[in-house]
Assembly symmetry: C2
Homo-oligomer: 591 residues x 2
Amino acid sequence: MQHNFHDMYRSHNCGELRSSHINNTVTLAGWVQKVRDKGFVVWIDLRDRYGITQLIFDEERTSKSILEQAQKLGREFVIQVEGTVIERASKNPNIETGDIEILVSKLTVLNEAILPPFTIENQTDGGAELRMKYRYLDIRRDPVKNNLIFRHKVAQEVRNYLSKQGFIEVETPYLIKSTPEGARDFVVPSRMNPGQFYALPQSPQTFKQLLMVGGMDKYFQIVKCFRDEDLRADRQPEFTQIDCEMAFVEQEDVLNAFEGLTRHLLKVINDVTVDKFPRMTFDEAIKRYGNDKPDIRFGMEFGELNAVSQHKDFNVFNSAELVVGIAVPGGNSFTRKEIDKLTDWIKRPQIGALGMVYCRCNEDGTFKSSVDKFYDQEDLSKWAELTGANKGDLICVLSGDTNKVRSQLSALRMELADRLGLRDPKVFAPLWVIDFPLLEWDEETERYHAMHHPFTSPKPGQLEMLDTDPGSVKANAYDLVLNGNEIGGGSIRIHDKETQSLMFDHLGFTKEEAKAQFGFLMNAFEYGAPPHGGIAFGLDRLVAILGGQETIRDFIAFPKNNSGRDVMIDAPSPVDNEQLSELSLKLNLKA
Amino acid sequence: MQHNFHDMYRSHNCGELRSSHINNTVTLAGWVQKVRDKGFVVWIDLRDRYGITQLIFDEERTSKSILEQAQKLGREFVIQVEGTVIERASKNPNIETGDIEILVSKLTVLNEAILPPFTIENQTDGGAELRMKYRYLDIRRDPVKNNLIFRHKVAQEVRNYLSKQGFIEVETPYLIKSTPEGARDFVVPSRMNPGQFYALPQSPQTFKQLLMVGGMDKYFQIVKCFRDEDLRADRQPEFTQIDCEMAFVEQEDVLNAFEGLTRHLLKVINDVTVDKFPRMTFDEAIKRYGNDKPDIRFGMEFGELNAVSQHKDFNVFNSAELVVGIAVPGGNSFTRKEIDKLTDWIKRPQIGALGMVYCRCNEDGTFKSSVDKFYDQEDLSKWAELTGANKGDLICVLSGDTNKVRSQLSALRMELADRLGLRDPKVFAPLWVIDFPLLEWDEETERYHAMHHPFTSPKPGQLEMLDTDPGSVKANAYDLVLNGNEIGGGSIRIHDKETQSLMFDHLGFTKEEAKAQFGFLMNAFEYGAPPHGGIAFGLDRLVAILGGQETIRDFIAFPKNNSGRDVMIDAPSPVDNEQLSELSLKLNLKA
């Protein structure tokens, strides 16, 4: 990267001076990171985005007034200095400018600073709330600053890669139409159209499909999307998608195109080479990992034990729909107390298991289980076989209703992998999960919902099953999973009006509702829609994972808290009545 | 650009086959642009994003069933064909694939199409409203499609150039805080915080300043912004900015950095080389062109004629604050009728002049004016001198209140330049307009407003004049003008709390209001804010001008109409009462 620092305030930045600059006269500007005042000599660490350069002021070589001025500087003062690059007496090999320092001949305070509410250091003493409130100070810290620069780099790579592949970035509108399907929309009252509202997009889904109808062929956009959801941990009401769509493609084309993108990112961002990504059906992922976004960096695959555990008198297992276990590598070393704690962990309401059966795999080939009363060594050896347990492992077995128990065991598997250090952030294991169900049953509304969205096409030949066995219909839908996180998901879309209309029927839309909400899309399908499909990546999550972290908030410049508030600017906030009246609105607060 | 078309539906696109492909078997997919049916032979133009390829079906070489199938195809049907590339009997030099055609051996209709409401041709029969309603069909047309691709190219160049210069693209939030300063905000009710609202950003102004406080040093973002304004022609409620900010800079640094960007764009996008951009003060621009965004591709500069026109008995001039004229090159050829029409034009209410005095500059060196009763040849020769009129020109003179008459004459100057073809879209004349006033008087509210925004810094040493002569204070504010359009504007910001607080005082904010709305920014200034400044470009306008056009709507994929409506998706629209109730809102419609 070329930087031009021959601007008015500085000749160089704080990260670029080296031995080769010795004897040069330079001007630097930045923040006072640290002052070390020995009385006769003062050292100051001057910081900017690019690094830290040491300044030196001493009795012998610095004028008295400047030395005194330096002694009065506080942390985070903004200063400009002129001076000569000299060799350091004691070099610091930990920073790139560690061979030199600046003997200062002129010092200007550009702005003073009061004491920051937390230390501007890599390890800060500031808590999460405080750092959010003063996010502009938090961004001065390397970990946050570097995350934002990292995000920029990833976004640039995405744009350049997709552009080279012939994708066109098209900006779709933010003020669109509210549709009750999917999550809740944020709405925007229209002053010019009283009583009417725009909605902020949950995704540019329909617009990208219209671009395909419009012949744009290959589209992408890095775009903000909005969901008014009750926020779970690490969700944001506004988030960024890499939104993509292609015409004249089948699933294979989309998978290849975006496997290419992901492989490129892993290579240039992480210097990791990954071959062909493995693929797994949704059903298989659920069966083997209890989860549709399995982390395959490690094993601990599910072994189903019904056949080898329901032939004895143990009623807990006999009455269970599913008995399923995992082998924890080296888990035999867990103490009884540790195992009890693990059992407590899965019994927490968030997980909700009723209990856990375990079986130690001793080094001598024998087994010792918590249910030895019911099972003999031969039984237990079959458990070991089906869970892939070796000597020294611990088999953990849960039982109950299939869906619940899978999800509980999946949580346990992830928790154990974390504890055992099996989730190495430097290892990347992408996986395509394919053949998702088209519909999922919603207990609350007692009807089927589109699992992906209502524009997803069913697998060829399965349309008929919509009437007889809707839950079994598979979709041309796929997720890209990376290290146990869904980083992207997409589908081949419906592109003809009849199928789309049929889908809306099955999703419980009346003809009128479908027309009011998606009429423009169904109309568009009458004018020659090409076969098309696409994918959307969650950029926040993708960047966090590539950055070796799992918390997206650390990769967002100005995130909101779990109540959807920006605590720095204090938003949302009340607006005055005049403004509401202009919008033809009144507050309707519950008492 | 590399395109990979070895996907499921096609081996090549419709723009890439050449003589070198003759005898290859290929698969293409696209839209039926045109069917020419001679009975024994059918030609079809097959279109996709990349071009048009001719298909041929004939009695001799095509099976009867396929020929008949081809004869039934309608315009905009989506088809897939397999066939052999053959040499065309009569080549078409106008298209890149004009040397070849495809002898079709297999034809699949991928989707039928009903008759489009307008022709999908470069010159269409569709009116503006109809094309907006069916924008997805309009995008199939080359002019619109190419504009969108052009826009993508410009945005990519901007991102790559700024990234290379060390700028970091940082995404700032869309759900922010409402501030009554500036234009009207769009607001977003918060369900989780009843009675409270987010606002959509009019620009990321405060966030980019906070990023400077946070040490990001060089920031940019291509970002949607929102203004709830009564829409003038060619304004959009949502628009796109290239938003930029730099720390440790003075005005000169910002001008140089973004002159570099603009020069780069002109070079790579338009292949136009421009040297150092000229600079002009705001006062000079107003005096010479009556306008703060003068088009300097042509002359017709203002000549102020008070001294040579107010010494006679012509009361219209004598009572005027300003008498000012321009010389219209070759304007002596205008007939009396044409001049009368011009006079009618400037008397239209939109312009509002009371009349126009003219003076013909004859080829023989004599003058003939509409006010010969009052002025002799010597007077008129001075008018010619001051307006720079040559033989064969026409001098047009307006008089009245200075501000009004300048704006009227500026409109006349632009209109005449259009009529005379002096505004060549292939010529690019950038200009920096600098030294804008800090404040402007608002007649309606009877107070001063920030001309740029309340964060703009006054010129050094002029702070004191805020009390004595606020209207004369100049700001460190600048606009980049291209061909008579403001394409960018910015300023050096205030970076200390005291000056910012003083500015809010002068803008009529109480301390409480300033704190409630901008407290977070003024707080931030206490923790070591660096000197900083920036600029924002209107991407829609920039792209249109680089594309040789002036209407931004043609460069936006899905624009809104003048009532802020998206007529394609029919937004905004009513939402149901349940949704309003969740948002703690009620409609308050006027009867």
